[in-house]
């Protein structure tokens, strides 16, 4: 016994000593310490290896506890129901047999308490959208959806209670012949086909969702239920990360987050038939990570079922045809699949055999799609273990080192490789969302591992720059960037707390504080918080300047803080203070640049000068001084590295100069600048026709030029430009899948064009344009009620519509529009979201309404 204890102590001591060493030295150390004891050597090697993996205990506990809590519930009263018995639970939540207790007759139902990442109200909203359609499904083989919603913050679904056995268990328990299995399967097809006729896709067909009742008749459960749990179509975030389906039966397009159609159900039916005949799922998930499983689904063919059980190769062919990777290559409909089965049952040759099982999906994996596929899979592999499906949760364990390396590859190489791809925005947004999910999860487990924490901070910082950074291709997601910046900052502070004297840690924390402050200033929200970040940065920089004497570093720090302060003042909107802060920033940064002559300091100088110009123009309303400032910025431009970035800056400055002239009321002088800005934007867009940001800049330049042409140039040219920009914004909206920003842009474009037409053209066209614009804006407000700026846009549009009706001699309609606008401004004021511009628009609306009544008299 003392021997064992002694050995145990020795293992532990050596383990700690060895883990503290870098790998090469560690091996030498182990060789030395374990000389003549290979067992000891191996044990230590294994332990050190295992040390880098984690979470096994905590995950098992969490899984068990969650199940237990679900199961504890029977007997509980849930709204109008009493939960009688737990029937089962899985990825989507627990299902109970329940009885209605608020009626005279007791109705037996099944209640699913949905476990979802969604907030209850989001779930309810989405569910209600689907309920009408789902409740209409009325088919003998489909379990009826009775109700659903959320109660006490808990989403639930009430459905017909079905007594039966899952399809896979049923066919095995009754040892059904192939023919009988096919006959059962045909009935399932009938139900799915019926639902497709009602425009409902199941999305999650699998043996466990099909109960076979005592008489051998199937009932399909959960029809369409997966949809409200999935990501909204028009949302920019990934669909895949919040997928609820069972990966084993998921179609490639589901794994890839691509559109789901009836072809998705055709695939799942193929997989279902596979499972019913071969007694196993086509893709065996045992021992596979979520990533490996998803990868297999996307680029491997499952073993033909006839290699597993005795089966006619024609059946192989039918299943293979249904399970093609490319949706278009599958049976065009469930009916076509059924027809082929009927051919087989009738002894005729089947359609599917014309293809062959080894059909490879080369076309599907052609170059570009290949990159997107890799994006999804790589992202999937990062987040896979942490995604909401529990099967993936089971696979969550993976080696930290491996994941970390993957993350680096993914963040730093992969993202960049798709960044330039046309139409990649959505994929990139998805990649970012996945990466954040992964980083968050890793952060939760990083406690005490400094190297990992530093990596995580760098990861968040990288994500932050992708979301909203200095690169041309950022995703324009300020809020997301703020969140990432704050996460990075927390980690940097923590690291700093661990090594308060380390200059690198101080510098990193200072930079993180600065970045967070600048981003918050950019959003215009939480400016006090921004100020406090800036103060922390200043303290840290002052401390590090002491340890790093020299004029330049100190000057750089001061300048960085001054730029941050100017950004905050700019956001606060006190023009004079903003100007003063920006002046100081320019002064300091000019000194930095003068003493360093480092081209890397030039962009910041340019930024400071431009900020000063903006403060003068927009904050202090001193357009002429602003003009001079922008001109000065133009002169610095050649010091910047040449390329798109420089061109873009030039375009921006030209546009600002045009704007300054316009604000000063000197429209004819503005015109040449607006035209130049337009030409620059054209050139950039022409060089990179697929770049969405470039396209947007061009459209904005069109918009500005159109305004200018209308005021000081050619009205015909104005309308021509406006029509062009409307078309461009429309395309952008479609390409971005209707993101909030793109719809706002499009609505604004419609309003501008309507404004030009309303004075010259017949009423029909501008009226239609305005109706479209307002419908869009109303939709945006409904979807993002928290953002006051959208409400103020809508109010503005109503006022414009009111003005137009007044012009068309319809005071009644005009008044209705004005009143809507007034109500919106009142609400903005009540919610304390009103700004100065809104107030002046509000006053204008009141005036116009008053004019209307004097006109009526």
């Amino acid at each position: 016994m003392p021997d064992t204890a002694h050995r145990w102590r020795r293992i532990e001591t050596l383990f700690h000593r060895a883990s503290a060493l870098p790998t090469p030295e560690r091996n030498a150390f182990l060789d030395h310490e374990c000389a003549g004891d290979p067992d000891l050597r191996r044990t230590l090697q294994d332990l050190i290896q295992s040390d880098s993996e984690s979470g096994v205990l905590d995950q098992a506990i969490a899984a068990e506890a969650r199940q237990m809590v679900d199961e504890i519930a029977p007997g509980a009263i849930f709204g109008a129901f009493r939960l009688e018995e737990l029937l089962g639970h899985g990825g989507m939540g627990a299902v109970y047999r329940a009885v209605r207790i608020d009626r005279e007759f007791s109705q037996q139902v099944a209640i699913k308490l949905v476990r979802s990442h969604l907030r209850a109200e989001d779930w309810t909203r989405r569910f209600l959208r689907e309920r009408q359609i789902l409740a209409r499904l009325n088919h003998p083989y489909i379990a009826r959806l009775l109700d659903g919603g959320s109660l006490h913050g808990r989403p639930y679904i009430v459905m017909e209670y079905v007594e039966g056995v899952t399809a896979d268990a049923y066919v095995q328990q009754h040892s059904l012949s192939t023919r009988d299995r096919l006959l059962l399967f045909e009935k399932v097809c009938q139900a799915v086909s019926y639902a497709h006729g009602q425009l409902v896709v199941h999305r999650d067909l699998k043996p466990q969702n099909i109960l076979v009742q005592a008489g051998g008749l199937p009932k399909l459960l959960d029809f369409g239920i997966a949809k409200p749990l999935e990501e909204e179509e028009d949302s920019a975030l990934t669909q895949a990360s919040q997928r609820v389906l069972t990966p084993q039966y998921a179609a490639p397009e589901q794994v890839l987050g691509q559109p789901i159609t009836t072809a998705t159900d055709v695939y799942a039916l193929g997989a279902l038939l596979y499972a019913l005949l071969a007694n196993q799922a086509p893709f065996d998930s045992t021992g596979l990570s979520g990533f490996a499983l998803e990868k297999a689904i996307c680029d491997q063919d499952p073993p033909p079922p006839s290699t597993l059980v005795k089966l006619d190769p024609d059946i192989d062919a039918i299943i293979a045809r249904a399970m093609r990777k490319e949706p278009a290559q599958r049976y065009p409909s469930v009916g076509a699949l059924e027809a082929d089965l009927a051919r087989w049952l009738g002894g005729y040759p089947v359609e599917a055999s014309r293809g062959n099982w080894q059909y490879r999906t080369r076309k599907f994996l052609r170059r570009r799609a290949g990159a997107v596929l890799a994006a999804t899979l790589l992202a999937g592999s990062l987040a896979g273990g942490f995604a909401s499906t529990h099967v993936q949760q089971q696979k969550a364990e993976r080696r930290l080192e491996e994941v970390r390396e993957l993350a680096n590859r993914f963040l730093f190489e992969f993202h960049d490789s798709i960044a330039a791809l046309p139409g990649a925005t959505k994929s990139r947004q998805m990649v970012v969302a996945r990466a954040i999910e992964y980083l968050d999860r890793l952060a939760a487990e990083s406690e005490g591992d400094r190297r990992l924490e530093a990596d995580l901070a760098a990861g968040y910082e990288r994500i932050r720059d992708i979301q909203y950074g200095f690169d041309y291709g950022h995703l324009n997601d300020v809020e997301g960037a703020v969140a990432s910046a704050q996460r990075a900052l927390n980690l940097r502070q923590k690291l700093l707390a661990a090594t308060p004297k380390d200059p690198a840690a101080i510098a990193a924390a200072a930079k993180a504080n600065l970045d967070a402050a600048n981003l918050l200033a950019e959003t215009g929200a939480s400016l006090d918080q921004a100020q406090s970040y800036l103060d922390s940065a200043q303290r840290l920089l002052a401390a590090s300047a002491q340890s790093q004497p020299g004029a330049l570093p100190q000057l750089r720090s001061e300048s960085a803080v001054a730029i941050g302060a100017a950004a905050i003042e700019n956001a606060k909107g006190d023009g004079d203070r903003a100007v003063a802060a920006a002046r100081r920033a320019v002064e300091l940064q000019q000194k930095v640049y003068d003493s360093s002559h480092d081209p890397a300091d030039a962009p910041r100088l340019l930024g400071a000068i431009q900020m000063l110009g903006d403060a003068l123009l927009l904050g202090a309303n001193r357009p002429l001084e602003a003009l001079a400032t922008y001109q000065r910025a133009l002169q610095i431009l050649p010091a910047l590295p040449s390329g798109v970035q420089q061109e873009m800056n030039r375009g921006q400055l030209l546009a600002r100069i045009g704007l300054a002239y316009a604000i000063a009321g000197r429209h004819p002088e503005a015109l040449p600048y607006r035209r130049q800005a337009l030409a620059v934007a054209e050139a950039i867009a022409a060089r990179d026709p697929q770049n969405a940001l470039a396209a947007r800049d061009l459209a904005v330049a069109c918009l500005n030029a159109a305004q200018n042409e209308y005021k000081a140039g050619s009205k015909t040219e104005a309308v021509r430009l406006a029509r062009r920009m409307v078309a461009m914004f429309e395309v952008a909206m479609q390409q971005s899948n209707g993101s909030g920003q793109s719809r706002t842009d499009y609505a604004a474009a419609l309003e501008d064009l309507a404004d030009y037409l309303v004075r010259t053209e017949a009423r029909a066209e501008p009226e239609t344009l305005l109706e479209r614009a307002i419908a869009l804006r109303e939709q945006i407000v409904r979807q993002e009620p928290e953002r006051g700026v959208y409400q103020s846009h809508l109010a503005h549009a109503w006022t414009q519509f009111g003005d137009s009706y007044a012009r068309w001699g319809e005071p009644g309609k005009a008044e209705a529009m004005y009143r809507k606008a007034l109500a919106a401004y009142e609400k903005l004021e009540r919610d304390k979201r009103i700004n100065g511009l809104d107030r002046s628009d509000w006053d204008r609306t009141k005036r116009n309404l008053a004019n209307l009544s004097t006109q009526k008299k």
């Binding site: 064992t4 145990w8 293992i11 383990f15 700690h16 883990s19 044990t43 294994d46 332990l47 290896q49 295992s50 040390d51 984690s54 096994v56 205990l57 995950q59 098992a60 506990i61 969490a62 899984a63 068990e64 506890a65 969650r66 199940q67 237990m68 809590v69 504890i72 519930a73 509980a76 849930f78 018995e85 029937l87 089962g88 639970h89 899985g90 990825g91 299902v95 099944a110 308490l113 476990r115 990442h117 907030r119 006490h152 913050g153 808990r154 007594e163 039966g164 056995v165 899952t166 268990a169 699998k206 466990q208 109960l211 459960l221 998930s285 529990h390 099967v391 949760q393 089971q394 005490g448």
Partner: protein, 190 residues
């Protein structure tokens, strides 16, 4: 709420004094608390649904303490954690065993959803339990530490205080214990 506060307090003392049977009773009591918490969970306004074991322990503790205070008793949190961590392990392992049995006996009701995952996690916790027993024979303090941290959600500082060791030792012990556990579960036991 049911009146379990003082009883548990007494049981805690009794267990501390060496009465092993008290543990079973405490487990029963705690289990009742957990049920109550979970039942209430159903009808409580609460965003999300992430009631983990540690959250259960925390809630159970708050309840016990509320009850105990009313009776002018004070349940020391460290004291409570020491026992709750063991109790929580018993409860979850028993539960996992029960479900595995149900599954094996083909307690076939209607299975609305896949049970595969359930079996996997059951296996995990039971395998972990076996490994923990093995570790207890070698180094009981490390098992206690794992129980405190992972089953009861104790902080490192709390665990250090309860076990009367430094926080640095908590870190070291945990690192080693987790590596050992992981290694054991990989079937490469030392």
């Amino acid at each position: 709420m049911n009146d379990t506060g003082p009883a548990v307090t007494a049981l805690l003392q009794s267990w501390q004094d060496g009465n092993r049977a008290a543990l079973d009773q405490i487990v029963d009591q705690l289990y009742a608390q957990l049920r109550a918490v979970a039942g209430q969970q159903l009808n409580a306004e609460r965003p999300g649904h992430t009631l983990a074991a540690t959250a259960l322990v925390h809630e159970a503790y708050l309840r016990l303490q509320a009850n105990a205070k009313a009776k002018a008793h004070f349940v020391d949190r460290h004291h409570f954690l020491a026992i709750a961590s063991r109790a929580m392990r018993c409860i979850l392992v028993d539960y996992a065993r029960g479900r595995k049995r149900l599954k094996r006996d083909g307690g076939q009701q209607v299975t609305l959803e896949e049970f595969t995952a359930v079996t996997n996690s059951t296996h995990d916790l039971l395998a972990i339990n076996t490994a923990l027993e093995k570790l207890a024979a070698l180094d009981p303090r490390k098992v206690q530490l794992l129980e405190l941290i992972s089953f009861a959600g104790a902080t490192y500082a709390e665990a250090a205080a309860i076990l009367d060791i430094s926080e640095a030792t908590v870190h070291r012990d945990l690192k080693f214990a987790r590596a050992w556990l992981k290694n054991e579960l990989n079937g490469e036991g030392a």
